[in-house]
Symmetry: C2
Subunit: 384 residues, 2 copies
């Protein structure tokens, strides 16, 4: 068969072929009942463990589970029934943390790359690609005069954007200190959440603009002229005020490049962790701009640059923001979040301003599991 | 420092932090002189090798290089000087092939995920993101009435598209049997090549539409309702004629959704391997549609469905195509390509039709290295 030689010959792909010599290894295998089986062929290994954020299902204190070697030299472990979620995991082979070679679905978080899988029949059904109309996701560059560089954005336009003449409301969605303009799509499953919730009419069709909050960078690692460097979390721009100061450039770009309803009632801003901090200060400094503000596990921490006017007279700014009025000021945090107390203190401040907020206290900590869930709760509240 | 606790606490990111306890491992390190050093910390390993497409720099017949353990439990290997290229590689630890945990830059090819790095000062400078104006890259869905599904495309619009009212020429760019609508951007570095060549005016600003040539799929693995399955290369749609038959839907979608110059002189089609086969039959079956045709290592193989009218009377169709006229019929193949003889036979057929073609014979085989290079050679020939 010529076709067979075609497939056999096709460079790297050779290793993907299976001529019946050995059983194809499927890992992870998500079973109907919500248990998950991991498999790794590693004949020379002495000890293989799996480590993931589905643990402490983990059978030991290190939060790992031992995998068991079967007759085919395949190490195997099956979890207990897992709640619906997007999970990540690694294997540990004789102390070395590796990716699952049979799972091509990977997500980068700062300098770590982990395998992921979805367990459905619950909240993670919103994180799946389903057969509903899909929005368009674009990587696009805007010019920042203030930061003196061209910078990359991710823009979601909803189904129907291209086939109608309508104007749409807009949500600016900001990432945390480890993220960039890719994080909300990759780790946050934002386009799937939007597609799925817009399809069931639980969420109004809207444009979502996902920015890069590290103002020394023009784009995510590997996507700028800095090349393929090893990503770091800590950059000199963190809490220095540049993101907040130059945010109006992003609004201006968005409103002059997309069909946007350009009024406060149709403008929302939300962010997680550092992006919650940014959303707080952006909405306070431009206090008549956003009708909707979402602070997801906001990093209420001292700014690194106290001299920045952006960070001064916060109480006064919040007071003006409150007087100007808004539709929703929404705060969510997990009970185990290390920022819980900081957010509690901030809520007390808001009570004294007073600035009326909605508050959601969830289980868990400072995790993408919470931020995805917060997004699914926050979006239906917008533009009603 | 509160900020420090913020970074230390940040979930998965913890493993990315380095509090001075151990030296940060950089791998790969691309040196100024074009050598590359790989490093892997694996104290328990007995044998560590590196395997990549930069070999046969490989020191043994398996095309691997042994890495050497140094005093810090870090295994190390430095290559000889490498020609400029985008390379991929894996580590092999005691027989187990793994990714480099210090390199977050990964590319999927069918079911394999490999690490990549760039060596510059040559052709790969075109594969780098540089500080030139960037086009917009969108993931967008069109409705296929013929295939009865919504399907995903990657669309590149050039710098200036959004800020002018101009119409643009269009290139339809097709992938091989292992690919999908992501392959030309991920493995092919198409957006970088386009940005860089448009910036130096070597290439006319154009819209590039990258399709998914597996007609049983609506999108790349993980991007459709089929979920996160293990990708396979062989699907029942290969060479069955559906891609060619329903291609006019894609042209229609493109021309009604983008500012396109809608005439033959401004329409090009090109593809690699299976996509070259598709481009051949699409341009022959719609023989007055494309002024430019590019066949990159085309998979000139018997169709799987000989009954398909698309595949019948090829000589007659080519003859009509030749008589209708065109600007360029461009064929490129590597001397070591397993399809070399098939392409030679096809060229003889074209000589007898006659259909005048341009022919480039390169070194090497059926590889992305060639396809990236062919794209850089083909693009400047378009729309002049």
């Amino acid at each position: 068969m010529l076709l067979l030689s075609f497939f056999a010959f096709n460079g790297y792909a050779q290793e993907n072929l299976n001529f019946g010599k050995q059983k194809e290894i499927i890992s992870p295998e998500v079973h109907e009942n919500g248990t998950v089986t991991f498999r790794l062929k590693a004949p020379a290994a002495r000890k293989v463990e799996v480590q993931g954020d589905f643990q402490p299902a983990g059978s030991n204190s290190a939060g790992t589970d031992r995998m068991v070697l079967n007759a085919d030299s395949v190490w195997t472990f099956t979890t207990k029934v897992l709640p619906s979620e997007l999970y990540s995991y690694s294997f540990i082979v004789d102390g070395l943390k590796i990716r699952d070679p049979n799972n091509v679905y990977l997500i980068r978080d700062v300098a770590s790359v982990v395998n992921v899988f979805l367990v459905g029949k619950g909240i993670a059904d919103l994180y799946k690609v389903t057969d509903v109309p899909h929005g368009t996701v674009s990587k696009r560059w805007y010019n920042s005069d203030g930061l003196k560089m061209s910078r990359r954005l991710t823009v979601y336009t909803p189904p129907g954007y291209e086939s109608t003449k309508e104007n749409y409301p807009v949500l600016y969605l900001l990432h945390g200190v480890g993220g960039d303009e890719e994080a909300w799509m990759q780790l946050g499953r934002a386009s799937q959440i939007l597609d799925n919730l817009i399809a069931t009419k639980k969420v109004k069709p809207m444009i979502v603009v996902i920015t890069n909050g590290h103002t020394i960078n023009s784009a995510a690692p590997g996507e700028s002229s800095k090349g393929m460097y090893k990503p770091v979390m800590m950059t000199p721009d963190v809490f220095n005020g540049d993101m907040e100061q130059y945010f109006p450039e992003i609004i201006k770009f968005t409103e002059s490049n997309y069909r946007i309803k350009k009024d406060k009632a149709n403008r929302a801003i939300a962010g997680l962790s550092m992006g919650g901090f940014h959303s707080l200060y952006i909405s306070a400094n431009y206090p008549n701009t956003f009708a909707y503000v979402g602070l997801f596990s906001p990093a209420i921490l001292p700014p690194s640059n106290n001299q920045q006017p952006i960070y001064q007279q916060l109480d006064k700014k919040l007071s003006i923001q409150a007087k100007n009025g808004f539709k929703l000021y929404w705060i969510a945090i997990g009970k185990k979040d290390f920022l819980f107390k900081n957010v509690e203190t901030y809520r007390k401040k808001l009570d004294t301003i007073p600035l009326k907020y909605d508050y959601v206290e969830s289980e868990g900590g400072h995790t993408w599991s919470n931020w995805r869930a917060y997004l699914t709760e926050f979006l239906p509240l917008l533009f009603n």
